[in-house]
């Protein structure tokens, strides 16, 4: 078995801001199988409304089978999740999806925006664990993160710095790091050819990064978010259009895609 439906206990609740929450679950079976870029489906309440589970990329897997998700309270499902108390149990389904295909940490650039930063911390720690240049500071991979403002971005940047990677930051209001978009930072960084991008963020940001990478013939993996009912290839609700025509399914073909395969709309 590689996927599990498990009742798991919430062991840590962190409110990073007023509406950004990080939950840590004791989920040993799922955590043991999880790879960066994969996701879990979380049942937000035992009742029938809201009915469907919510997909969350795996933010971190830490020792002793602990698994984290990170989210912003945006609707009914996330509101309920933000009310779960330490010690309570929730049903998790996972790990689901394909996950990133990590290349060398020496030629990796992680680009995250908003809650799209969530899966990149797991990826960064996985890169570090296999980095040959572990003694070198700042450690690879290169990381560029953006959000609306300092309050939303700084706690997440701190997490990356804590595990030992340097971060280039950008905020919409200029309150932390570069005043502007992560795409500006990426462009200015003069990323050498051969570096690959691992990207997760809002659709317009990923579309811009995808276009940039296409112009530079640069490999780019994106983590795509859609609504989905099942997360395991049954409902076929999570279709995204492909450049070659037809659709792919985010849950079973993704959520990680080579950016050039997708049809981007701006």
């Amino acid at each position: 078995m590689s996927q599990f439906q498990q009742k798991v206990e919430l062991i840590c609740f962190e409110a990073l801001t007023e509406d950004i929450v990080r939950l840590t679950f004791n989920a040993p079976k799922i955590a043991a199988m999880a790879r960066p870029g994969q996701f879990v489906m979380v049942q937000t309440s035992p009742g029938k409304d809201p009915l469907l589970r919510r997909p969350f990329s795996i933010h971190q897997v830490i020792r002793d089978g602990h698994l984290q998700i990170l989210f912003k309270v945006l609707g009914k499902g996330t509101e309920l999740l933000a009310q779960v108390r330490v010690g309570e149990q929730l049903s998790l389904l996972g790990p689901l999806g394909n996950g990133f295909t990590p290349g060398s940490p020496e030629t990796a650039c992680l680009v995250g925006g908003g809650m799209g930063i969530a899966p990149l911390l797991f990826l960064a720690t996985r890169f570090l664990s296999k980095s040959s240049a572990a003694e070198v500071s700042p450690k690879m991979p290169m990381v560029i993160l953006g959000a609306r403002n300092r309050a939303e971005l700084e706690p997440l940047v701190d997490d990356f710095r804590k595990v030992g990677v340097d971060v280039l930051a950008a905020t919409d209001d200029g309150s932390f790091g570069h005043h502007g978009l992560v795409t500006d930072v990426l462009t200015k960084s003069n990323l050498p050819p051969g570096f690959g991008i691992y990207c997760c963020g809002p659709h317009p940001m990923m579309a811009a990064i995808a276009r940039l990478c296409q112009q530079e013939s640069r490999a780019c993996q994106v983590s795509v978010e859609t609504v989905m009912a099942c997360g395991m290839g049954a409902c076929l609700g999570c279709a995204v259009p492909l450049k070659a025509g037809g659709y792919a399914h985010v849950c079973s073909d993704g959520p990680i895609f080579e950016a050039e395969k997708l049809l981007w709309s701006l």
Binding site: Q3, K48, V227, A234, C235, P241
Partner: protein, 313 residues
């Protein structure tokens, strides 16, 4: 706990749909269980009454543009657009795994014309492992201006007769609830030779996003499923079971053993678990275990004692 488990294993859960014998009355609803394999980590596939697979057409279909699904109160709307691999790839890629499970596979078929349904039934005839054909008549008839087969008793009967004419296995017709009187269509397909009817398919609905003033589905309208539709489904199963002599398979918002047995009381011989599979991929196991526990607790000789046993007066 152990004596109870031993006792529930002895509960007689067998039912029959025409000549098709099932080890228990719990099937998966088409379109909610993929081609079965997707659920192998979560449910005991060999323990199911039957596996009903995603609807199959002659040619592969890409499906509708997104968004294809939206959650609604106690349910969801979908407009997947009948995306499927087509019958040839279904037979070559999906059927070998399914046949090896040893439980009947019910192949849900759909087409744009009576002729397409006939050809599909012909292609599937004689394939090992297929226990029955379930005919989805909620599709539009392209040759009749897109009117759904299932909303016209004559067209529903024509499709039934065509499929029946080239099938050796039982033919189940899946009825659309989007009609004025579902018993009229039920009787029409019974007369045309259907061995059973399954109901209900989804109820047509829509959802609107006030902020953008747009429909929430790219297709504008879609099919409502989930607990929200259960009372409507129960009522229709009750009505149809009294109107026809062939077995009725109940579908609509079934998530627990209690739900399933309510449908059996209303007249269903078997049930299909649908949207619940999305939320709880182990739902069918729980439904089967719950029915077995009830049959044992109530000291019933067989689950069949529930069928149509509703006390109305």
């Amino acid at each position: 706990m152990e004596p109870l488990i031993m006792a529930t294993e002895k509960a007689d859960l067998r039912v029959s749909i025409g000549s098709l014998a099932l080890q228990n009355p719990v099937m998966t609803a088409s379109g909610t269980f993929g081609y079965g394999r997707e659920f192998e980590d979560f449910v005991k596939l060999r323990g199911l009454g039957a596996v009903v697979v995603k609807g199959i057409s002659l040619a592969p279909r890409a499906g509708n543009p997104p968004p294809r699904i939206v959650e609604t109160a106690c349910g969801m709307l979908n407009a997947i657009g009948l995306e499927n691999t087509g019958v040839d790839r279904f037979i070559s890629d999906k059927m070998p795994y399914l046949a090896a499970l040893g439980v009947p596979v019910l192949v849900n078929i759909l087409g744009d014309s009576v002729e397409e349904y006939r050809q599909l039934a012909g292609r599937l005839a004689g394939i090992p492992g297929i226990g029955a054909i379930e005919v989805n008549i909620s599709c539009p008839n392209v040759k009749k201006g897109g009117v759904a087969f299932g909303t016209d008793p004559q067209m529903a009967a024509a499709v039934t007769a065509a499929v029946k004419g080239c099938s050796q296995v039982p033919v189940i017709v899946k009825l659309s609830p989007n009609v004025t009187d579902i018993t009229v269509v039920a009787r029409a397909v019974e007369e045309a030779g259907a061995d059973a009817v399954s109901l209900i398919n989804t109820l047509i609905g829509m959802a609107i996003d006030l902020r953008s003033r747009r429909p929430r589905l790219a297709n504008v309208i879609g099919g409502l499923s989930g607990p929200a539709i259960k009372p409507v489904a129960l009522r229709m199963v009750y009505q149809v079971a009294r109107a026809v002599a062939i077995p009725v398979i109940g579908i609509g918002g079934i998530a627990t053993a209690e739900d399933a047995m309510e449908f059996m009381l209303a007249g269903a011989t078997a049930v299909q678990v649908g949207t619940a599979n999305f939320v709880n991929p182990g739902a069918c196991d729980e439904v089967i275990a719950g029915i077995a526990a009830y049959v044992t607790e109530q000291k019933m000789g067989s689950v069949r004692e529930l069928i149509g046993a509703l006390r109305v007066c």
